[in-house]
């Protein structure tokens, strides 16, 4: 580490594939800088799909895929894109990737595709994707951008998976369609209809935000 101060450029060139700085790209969005609970991005298209675990899982994987590849492509093109038309270029690239995801799902997972309906298309307007492209990929190297996309995607995914877990458990007593409440001895578990309705998502997410912020001590003014 002490040589770094003497010959900084050399040390930079031989940076490890997963150096401390790069690990932070992945771990930061998981908690301290979470896209949903701290940056308030991407709440739009996510919550409506969280009534059950299975479609939520598909949604999470799709968002991670779109984030990694849009970050990579924008980062590779970052010196070629004129500043004035960058929004359109970003939208075009993201829309292309989302179309790809949509067609793959239509071909190989038609029942999940029908459940998600228009919400796959709404990944295009998911603010996390646009936000990371604007804030990170336009100014950083491709490999770093891929890690950043992966980190933000994972940070987003674990929140929506937790929301989906509680909503499916309380809303229908099941997890991934498996009757969990019945298996642990609550045969006559009364499903809570409020959890299946959109209201349940707001309230579960509100509690998650409360817990996370109480732990990290972050206060919004």
């Amino acid at each position: 580490m002490s040589t770094e101060t003497v010959e900084a450029p050399v040390a930079k060139e031989s940076e490890a594939l997963l150096s401390k700085r790069r690990k932070k790209f992945i771990t930061d969005p998981l908690n301290d800088d979470n896209p949903i609970t701290v940056q308030v991005l991407g709440i739009c298209s996510a919550l409506a799909v969280t009534t059950q675990m299975k479609p939520t899982m598909v949604m999470a994987l799709s968002v991670i895929f779109v984030m990694i590849f849009s970050n990579l492509i924008i980062s590779l093109l970052r010196n070629a894109i004129p500043g004035r038309v960058r929004i359109i270029v970003q939208l075009a690239i993201v829309a292309t990737l989302v179309t790809l995801v949509n067609e793959v799902l239509k071909a190989y997972a038609f029942d999940v595709y029908k459940q998600l309906s228009v919400f796959i298309g709404l990944i295009i307007t998911n603010c996390i994707v646009m936000g990371r492209l604007e804030a990170f990929a336009l100014g950083n190297k491709p490999y770093d951008s891929v890690l950043d996309g992966l980190g933000s995607g994972l940070g987003y995914s674990w929140i929506i998976l937790v929301v989906a877990f509680f909503r499916e458990l309380w809303g229908s007593g099941k997890v991934f369609g498996y009757d969990l409440m019945g298996a642990i001895g609550f045969e006559n578990f009364a499903a809570n209809g409020l959890m299946v309705s959109p209201v349940g998502a707001f309230i579960v997410l509100g509690f998650i935000i409360w817990v996370m912020r109480a732990r990290s001590g972050y206060v919004e003014h």
Binding site: C44, S117, G121, L122, T125, I203, L205, G206
Partner: protein, 203 residues
């Protein structure tokens, strides 16, 4: 009469914010003051009212299976519906740009107060979502127009109501961890419960 029903339904019963979670980012970000919420709400009504019928035309005459048959028999088989996302978002971005230029020209003061929020409308999921719903539900052109204005009005009502509540909330003693986003989530949930009561109305 059907159109009136559809309008009421898209404003209250199937409100974009409370029953589909669309447009949440700007809904949460721009609802701190009633005046800015009012400006953004109006712009959303306007953009939705224009883009949904325009995307309907695009869908009907270019994208749907067999939509290109007006070009001649050779084109009757073509199905361009996989291009829907990219074409819809292009129309929306173009319309937002147009609205921005028009407002800048005719009302510089309104442009000044909206400034940053106008380009944000292009990535508001409520706009793209309405167009995708319109395509999915096979509306006619009249229904598409009413649906566009209706869902815009629904968003307008929701954001004004939330902004008014948040202005009052500034004087309340909220636990530290809940300040800002957390308590706003709970309030949105409670407003959602209130809007659910509209479901009982049969029209």
């Amino acid at each position: 009469m059907d159109l009136l029903n559809l309008g009421i339904k898209s404003i209250f019963i199937e409100n974009m914010v409370f029953s589909y979670f669309l447009g949440m980012c700007s809904f949460l970000a721009v609802s701190k003051k009633v005046s800015t919420a009012f400006g953004l709400g109006l712009a959303v009504v306007f953009v939705l009212g224009i883009t949904v019928p325009m995307n309907w035309l695009l869908n009907e005459f270019v994208l749907n299976e067999g939509a290109l048959s007006w070009l001649g028999a050779d084109f009757a088989e073509i199905d361009l519906s996989f291009l829907r996302f990219i074409m819809f978002i292009a129309i929306i971005a173009a319309m937002v740009q147009l609205v921005e230029m028009t407002i800048e020209k005719f009302s510089p003061s309104l442009y000044g107060s909206l400034g940053i929020f106008l380009p944000l409308i292009a990535v508001n999921c409520a706009i793209l979502g309405s167009s995708l719903f319109m395509a999915q539900r096979d509306y006619t052109i009249g229904e598409a127009t009413v649906f566009g204005f209706g869902s815009g009005t629904g968003f307008f009502l929701a954001i004004i109501a939330l902004a008014a509540i948040r202005e009052k909330l500034r004087y309340s003693n909220v636990p530290d961890g809940l300040k800002g986003l957390g308590i706003t989530m709970f309030i949105t949930g409670l407003m959602g419960i209130a809007f659910m009561s509209f479901m009982g109305i049969s029209i």
